[in-house]
């Protein structure tokens, strides 16, 4: 981590996507500098070993998604944002389970990717609308219990893609919308496989007063 500046490494098998993502990240405010990019996950361990956030495409030429790579990165404490073509709920939930801080589909635009990268660089989760849909529709047996309000926030965010609309609809502030989304992610972090990123996420939520130790 080089001073105040946030840095990223972009892993994607399409050069145009890498260039596009790097550009989006650089034009954000504050900008995120891409220190390495490549079509192989090795770049995240070598040239990009110091980057604050890893933007990872799940399909790196091979037929199977690079879930093993994601697991190793998250296990190594790296903050990963998965950026994938696949929009199915299962794979998104699986990535969260493995310790990814965010999951975005490539149908989602620059705004969400930049926000996700910035949040992840700071060790925070980010839930873009498509992921909110996956969480709202989650029927797996080990899913965490969400309150009615939390579910409603997920659904509204999935449907409207804009937090001001969610806030308007539910009669709450945008900050409350954000803290609901973060609480939901903390609940998800507490189930399933352990990963340093998930532990850090829960610890941070306690520090911020988002949840209390009693909630655990």
């Amino acid at each position: 981590m080089a001073g105040d500046e946030l840095t990223a490494v972009v892993v994607d098998d399409h050069p145009a996507v890498r260039a596009g993502v790097a550009h989006w990240l650089a034009s954000g405010d504050p900008p995120i500098r891409t220190i390495a990019e490549g079509d192989d996950v090795r770049v995240a361990w070598l040239d990009g070993a110091d980057a604050d956030v890893v933007i990872l495409d799940l399909h790196l030429g091979g037929a199977t998604p690079a879930l093993g790579d994601l697991r190793r990165l998250a296990g190594g404490g790296r903050r990963v944002v998965v950026y994938s073509m696949r929009a199915d709920d299962d794979i998104a939930l699986q990535c969260l389970e493995l310790g990814a801080l965010s999951y975005l589909t490539k149908a989602e635009g620059a705004q969400y990717l930049v926000e996700a990268a910035r949040a992840a660089a700071g060790g925070r989760p980010y839930t873009p609308p498509s992921l909110a849909g996956a969480l709202a529709a989650d029927r797996s047996t080990n899913r965490p219990a969400l309150s009615a309000r939390e579910t409603e926030v997920l659904v509204e965010w999935f449907q409207s893609e804009s937090k001001d609309f969610v806030a308007h609809r539910l009669g709450i502030s945008q900050n409350t919308v954000n803290s609901h989304l973060e609480r939901i992610r903390v609940k998800y972090a507490q189930i399933g496989r352990e990963a340093p990123t998930k532990a850090a996420l829960v610890a941070r939520a306690i520090q911020d007063g988002l949840i209390s130790v009693d909630d655990l």
């Binding site: 929009a87 149908a107 849909g133 029927r139 449907q159 409207s160 893609e161 804009s162 001001d164």
Partner: protein, 366 residues
Amino acid sequence: MSEQALLGRVLAAIRIVLLGVTAVLQASMSAAYLFGNRSFYEPRWLAETAFAALALVLVVAAGWILRGRRVPPGVALPAAGVVLIASATATATTPGEWYLHARHWAFGLTGWHLLVLLLERTRPVLAAFAGHAAIGTTQFLLVVPLNRVSLGETAIAIVSVLGFQIAVGLIVQMVMRRLRAMAATVTERDRAATRAALAEQWELDQRFRAAEQFGSVLPLLAGLADGALDPRADDVRHQCALAAARLRLLFAENDDVPDPLVHEVAAAVDIAERRGVAVSFAVSGDVVPVPTAVRRMLAEPVLTALSAARTRARVSLLRTAEEVRLAVIADSAVTTGSPSRSPDVEVTSDTLGDRTRMEARWQVTS
């Protein structure tokens, strides 16, 4: 199904007839020979015990058969063992010179008992008959003089008595197989007829709906043709967009796809995209079966909102175990028409600035 029930009734009837025949044979012919010549069977009590055992087996079997059921395997197989032992015992009490004659009352009777117990079980029935023949043959060979004539007579007698009974058993099984095949054919034919009737109904319904939709399009087309409607007017363009989307949805309804709701909504999205509206369409949750009528009600608000969209829209479909929620957010400040109310589908509409959100929700009832 009814064919299966019919098949069961035929089989039950065959079992009852077989039970009746066996009971009559034992009570009349076998009883007449045994009790008419009781002093010749030695020891007499053993012969009568064997007779009683065979009668008891029939009584026990009748408990199921008269109620239209088959004797359960847990009872039928041990009972068949009892029958074979009783038969061998009765043979042992019969004087050697009567073997295979009418006064050897148990030999022929045993086959009928075995059929009563094991009628529908091919392998057990064949095994039991083989056992019966083997025991009988052994007993004869120990008693009758071993010459060609007596051996020949023995073989002919055994084959003719047991052959007839086995044939009865096999014929019943063959008839049942045929009946079963016939029942399956009839069921399949009925199913095909039902499908055809449903398809016909569906087509009628589609024709009706198409006529209805075209009916609403015609005034629009006529208005455009004679210049009464101005294609530059927002209202006219909105009406055209709505009509096009409705027709497109109607065509999509006809397609046989695994996820009809997504297919139909995608068709509506497609129409909006052709108008130059940037639409994002997100789907979450597994496929839930939604009746056609409900799908139409769910899609209607989407059509309304999408056809009013100017440049951007988001369509989202969420399916959980409890409900299906289909929502549209479009950049159109005007809410076109009031949300329609129906008991099954709840439609809500909401506006913030220049964005309008419409949502249709359906509670999964089943």
